[in-house]
């Protein structure tokens, strides 16, 4: 950068005049094409290739995109609820996918967008969180974990990653909820919903939300949000996987089939 040259900064190894065999600590969190996570053949240009893969070019590559996930904070912690459908274009690849990655007993990550991208990068995040815990002797904060994922996304900016994730946990600052996506957006908030069914979910959870809900009411709100979104959105469905993030870690609340839930709600709906 410009100021580097102007102020005459020289790195430790230059000053000492030899290669230090200790790894430069600041390189730990380097994600992206300069120090690649995996080997790629020379001359590969993902962003250029992806520009040619659109319908105008006659190519019909449809990534797995359909999902509804939601998470909200309330008085007694954070509720995380996700659907379980994986679609590839118009084909239903699976109705029983696990879209929540259990990073550690105090951190959860949700997945929406491309299934492959989410699974890979969130597992990598889990590895980095574990390394942080081993190096620093205390658990990583939710803000730091979400910043790590955000920087991973920014390292591959413009290369076609598709990730819409919520990092949810409980650390020294209390309950934490961050939304991170493939453009490098990172937002902290009380309530988020991602995936193509997110609009439907927002409608239900926004209108039913109260800060002072009881735990059972919050579970019902999370269930309702996913169930109604899967009812309207063709690319969401399967089962509702729900987690509750409490002060002493997360618990898995339930795994309920959406069609049974809708049947139960029918009396109020039609």
């Amino acid at each position: 950068m410009a100021l580097f040259e102007v102020s005459g900064f020289r790195s430790y190894s230059e000053v000492r005049g030899r290669q230090t065999h200790l790894a430069d600590r600041t390189n730990h969190y380097n994600f992206g094409t300069k120090t690649q996570e995996f080997a790629v053949p020379v001359g590969v240009d993902p962003s250029g290739f992806l520009k040619t893969c659109n319908h105008d070019g006659g190519v019909c590559i449809d990534m797995n995109h359909g999902t509804t996930t939601l998470a909200f904070k309330f008085r007694h912690g954070v509720i995380v609820a996700v659907d379980s459908r994986a679609s590839a274009g118009r084909y239903l690849a699976s109705n029983d996918v696990n879209k929540v990655i259990e990073i550690n007993p105090y951190l959860l990550g949700t997945m929406s967008g491309s299934a492959a991208d989410c699974q890979y990068w969130e597992r990598l995040l889990a590895k980095e969180c574990r390394l942080y815990r081993l190096r620093n002797n205390h658990r990583i904060s939710v803000a730091a974990a979400s910043k790590l994922l955000c920087n991973m996304m920014l390292g591959y900016r413009g290369m076609g990653l598709s990730v819409g994730s919520m990092i949810c946990g409980w650390d020294k600052q209390g309950p934490g909820l961050y939304y991170v996506d493939d453009n490098g957006t990172r937002l902290s908030g009380r309530m988020f919903s991602t995936g193509c069914g997110n609009g439907y979910a927002y409608g239900v959870i926004d209108s039913g939300y109260r800060e002072d809900m009881t735990v059972e009411e919050a579970y019902e709100l999370g269930r309702r949000g996913i169930a109604h979104a899967t009812h309207r959105d063709a690319y969401s469905g399967g089962v509702v996987n729900m987690y509750h993030m409490q002060e002493d870690g997360w618990i898995k609340v339930c795994k309920e089939d959406v069609s049974e839930l809708i049947h139960r709600y029918r009396k109020g709906m039609f």
Partner: protein, 199 residues
């Protein structure tokens, strides 16, 4: 969709930004702060492509703070603005240009207040008032009509309120609240958020 505005007075700069963080048609956050504090008397307001804004603004923010740590004194607003512009220009013709529109507002102890307008093509202009976003089409003429170089702080806030009333009246998108800050020789002051109607 997003809106930034800055008004320079004889010994202060008033800046405001909307509070919506949106993703296509959904408001993901309605209390999002688009201002980045570069130093005790410099604010960077940043809007543009998702991800680019925070990454570029934080990069500039950390480098300005690093300058202070290495050299013992802070960059002036004009120097910070030129540094920012140089970085934008360097990335412009690379494979990953930053699509961000900026307002840099600061108070220099020798030169007084300064407001700098920068856009994603890395143009830089020092201006008495400036705005970014679709809302700028509606409000720049209001600023042209009512701005005077010797505005008091209250008059500047009234001028800002006039601009926001115009947005609430004519702009198709709902921007319910705005963060407002004022920079003068004492530093950065948070003013009351400007909200529209009942919540």
């Amino acid at each position: 969709m997003e809106y930034l505005i800055g008004i320079q007075g004889p010994d202060f700069v008033l800046v405001a930004a909307d509070n919506v963080a949106a993703s296509s048609i959904i408001q993901m956050k309605h209390d999002y702060d688009k201002m980045f504090k570069l130093s005790e008397k410099i604010l960077l307001l940043c809007v543009g492509e998702a991800g680019d804004t925070v990454q570029f603004a934080e990069y500039i923010q950390k480098n300005v703070q690093l300058y202070k740590m290495r050299n013992g004194y802070e960059l002036s607003p004009a120097a910070a603005a030129n540094f920012t512009r140089k970085n934008l220009a360097d990335y412009l013709r690379s494979r990953t240009p930053y699509h961000v529109n900026l307002l840099l507002a600061g108070y220099d102890d020798t030169d007084g207040p300064g407001l700098f307008y920068m856009d994603y093509l890395s143009s830089l202009a020092k201006a008495p008032f400036a705005a970014h976003g679709y809302g700028a089409f509606l409000t720049l003429s209001i600023l042209d009509r009512y701005y005077r170089p010797d505005l008091t702080r209250d008059e500047a806030v009234d001028l800002l309120k006039k601009c926001i009333e115009e947005l609430n009246k004519r702009f198709i998108l709902n921007l319910p609240s705005f963060t407002v800050r004022l920079i003068d020789k004492e530093g950065i002051h948070d003013l009351e958020k400007l909200t529209h109607g009942a919540k």
